[in-house]
């Protein structure tokens, strides 16, 4: 037994695990449960029927009571296990309930009514993933409208960000011009000022431009990210100036140098910025909340928040819509996770 354990615990260095290795794995596994657990619980809950959702204490998997169609009855009847006076247990279908007495029948013999105390019977249940939360939710929640808005905002803003930030970073890294250091300093300085602090004047500016209740008001203002400029500038500094000089000698215009030399060489940094930008825009909440007040323009996040505030709405629908909202970003992460984590580790930015 000890040798088996030892074999199982061999690590790559052919060394058996010691106490601190066990502690490390225990910590990481506990962490995995705490990090993923809440999301998995959300997903499992989103498949439960409203009756199952209010059940306390809650059960892990979604269940539903089994029903049976009996000739002579229009609706399917709920099945229960009922202990009989002779000690056996029979599976009966409930026809109706009167006070504490349930009138039940044997599906094989629908004519005979058997009265049973409601506390004596126990429901027959099966694991059942109820997709109606999703289908109902999508209708009540205007899911497709919100999804469309979120997609428009995310894609358009990311393109604008990549385009404008890379041009600015090119100018800041490869040219000597008056005011360059001031621009750089101010750009980085604004990283310190939270958007939330200047909410009111931003609202005023957007109102003056007439972008209230216009997706442009969500897309354009966020496009000039200081983080993006800084990240791309740092990367472009590593591109040798000789490349640009020789292109100039060959007669390339500055625009062509940016387009055909700088951009292709900056692809790794652009990829990291793309991921950031998608993440920022998709999850953005405060800015769209302030700019958009007509519900047909809501993004998923704002829509979800107002859906939550609507008292008429049931938890089962909210849970299903929350899953749909976190699904796209989760899929992107599942595909690109190594790239994202190393990208952030090397740039140290968010």
């Amino acid at each position: 037994m000890a040798t088996v354990l030892r074999f199982l615990t061999l690590t790559r260095g052919k060394r058996a695990l010691n106490t601190s290795d066990w502690l490390t794995y225990a910590y990481l596994l506990l962490g995995t449960c705490l990090m993923f657990g809440p999301v998995i619980w959300l997903i499992l809950s989103s498949f439960k029927t409203p009756a199952e959702l209010v059940r306390f204490p809650p059960r892990l998997l979604p269940y539903q009571q089994e029903t049976i169609v009996v000739p002579g009855f229009d609706d399917p009847l709920a099945l229960y296990d009922v202990p009989m006076p002779d000690g056996s247990t029979r599976r009966l279908a409930q026809v109706r309930r009167i006070g504490i007495e349930a009138q039940m029948i044997d599906p094989a013999d629908p004519e005979t009514i058997i009265p049973v105390n409601i506390n004596a019977r126990s429901p027959v249940e099966m694991i059942y993933f109820d997709f109606s939360n999703y289908t109902d939710g999508v209708q009540r929640f205007n899911f497709w409208t919100y999804l469309g808005n979120s997609l428009i905002v995310t894609i358009a803003a990311t393109f604008l960000t990549l385009f404008f930030n890379s041009m600015a970073a090119f100018a800041l890294s490869k040219y000597q011009f008056r005011g360059r250091d001031t621009v750089l300093f101010v750009t980085i300085g604004t990283l310190l000022v939270p958007l939330s602090v200047i909410l009111i004047p931003i609202f005023l500016v957007i109102t003056e431009i007439g972008w209230n209740n216009n997706l442009l008001g969500v897309i354009v203002p966020g496009a000039a990210t200081p983080t993006g400029v800084f990240l791309l500038r740092q990367y472009m500094l590593t591109i040798p100036d000789e490349l640009i000089e020789s292109a100039r000698i060959d007669g390339a215009s500055e625009w062509r140098i940016y387009l055909q030399i700088i951009l292709p060489l900056s692809l790794p940094a652009l990829a990291v910025l793309t991921i950031f930008s998608v993440m920022w825009r998709w999850n953005d909440f405060l800015w769209p909340l302030v700019v958009l007040s007509r519900s047909e323009l809501f993004t998923l996040q704002v829509g979800l928040n107002s859906f939550k505030g609507d008292l008429q709405v049931q938890w089962n629908l909210i849970l299903a819509m929350t899953v749909l909202t976190l699904l796209p970003i989760t899929l992107v992460f599942a595909v690109l996770q190594r790239y994202i984590t190393t990208g952030i580790a090397t740039t140290g930015m968010k």
Binding site: W41, P57, A168, F177, V197, K308, L326, T330
Partner: protein, 334 residues
């Protein structure tokens, strides 16, 4: 592997990008003929600078002016100049330690709540991020997997995080189910002020620690392994290596983490707003939410007061960061 997976995405995007931008040739060539090579720098920086100026710099200046005007009109021409009135209103207090004695009691409650939140959140965040980074820095299997696991909540939006945890913490929720199953009594997590404040901290640590773990991990991996080997030969214990090598060499990274997490903690808003809405009572109203409610959500929109409060907050952040940079520079010299 992932790079090859990503390749079609980046190449198609790069191709599209270039196609659209090639159209700009028609405008750019004449521009360069007029402005010269160096002048093009201004052309390149202009779009970014214009957006930046209109939507960040201009609002910052306007905010400053707003703070000294009164009334409830949004447009500046309808707002009377009131000088320091808004700031005086904020700072009229019988006793600064007791919010009830203040004219704007909600503001001081928010200040106090924010103070407590920042202390607890930053401490726990840095602690857990450091422990996780140290665990991930060991020679273990599945490092990439665990790294992604801890990072995953960072990707979730504040609204989603808030909803997930409301669902777990509600009266008939999962956590109370576990507590009852273990023989305890149900706890009103979302209804008591103390629990509300505690959970706001726990949830934000849950949602943010992956990001700081990654930064600290990068810092840990930059420490040359020769140092540890030398310490090992000299007979240092793991504990001694940690205090003697890891911690001092990790200080610059720790400093970055501390600055970033402090700034972010002071600015806490959307997650809490969606999670508790400031309640129960005013237990989780923080400074940004005070600005938001005073300026936007309340029936009478007191833009001036909100702007003044945000000015106070910006000043506080500036001082905080300056102190940190000062300390950081000193620790670099020594």
């Amino acid at each position: 592997m992932v790079k090859t997976l990503l390749f079609p995405v980046t190449s198609v995007m790069g191709w599209l990008f270039r196609l659209i931008i090639s159209a700009f040739d028609l405008i750019m060539q004449p521009l360069q003929n007029r402005l010269g090579v160096k002048g093009m720098a201004y052309v390149f920086i202009m779009p970014n600078l214009v957006i930046f100026g209109i939507f960040i710099i201009l609002p910052m200046l306007l905010n400053f002016y707003y703070a000294f005007t009164g009334g409830t009109q949004l447009f500046l021409e309808n707002r009377p100049f009131v000088g320091l009135d808004n700031l005086t209103t904020l700072f009229t207090c019988g006793n600064f330690l007791d919010p009830n004695s203040c004219r704007e009691d909600l503001f001081w409650r928010a200040v106090m709540n924010t103070g407590g939140y920042v202390l607890a959140q930053v401490t726990l965040l840095v602690l857990f991020s450091l422990v996780t980074a140290l665990a991930l820095n060991r020679n273990i299997r599945g490092r990439g997997f665990f790294r992604s696991v801890f990072f995953y909540p960072v990707l979730l939006s504040p609204v989603v995080v808030a909803l997930i945890w409301r669902w777990i913490l509600q009266q008939d929720g999962l956590l109370n189910g576990i507590i009852v199953a273990l023989g305890g009594e149900r706890v009103p997590f979302l209804l008591s002020a103390g629990w509300g404040q505690a959970w706001v901290v726990i949830i934000s640590v849950w949602a943010q620690m992956g990001f700081f773990t990654l930064i600290l991990l990068a810092g840990l991996q930059a420490i040359p392994s020769e140092f540890y080997e030398a310490a090992n030969i000299d007979g240092a214990s793991a504990w001694q290596s940690f205090w003697g090598i890891t911690l001092p060499l990790l200080m610059p990274t720790m400093f970055v983490v501390l600055v970033l997490s402090l700034i972010r903690a002071v600015q806490v808003f959307d997650q809490v707003f969606s999670f508790t809405g400031g309640g129960p009572g005013t237990a989780t109203v923080y400074m940004v939410q005070y600005v938001y409610t005073t300026g936007f959500a309340n029936q009478t929109k007191e833009y001036g007061l909100a702007a003044a409060a945000s000015l106070v907050m910006a000043l506080f952040l500036l001082v905080l960061t300056a102190i940190q940079l000062r300390l950081g520079r000193r620790s670099e010299i020594t």
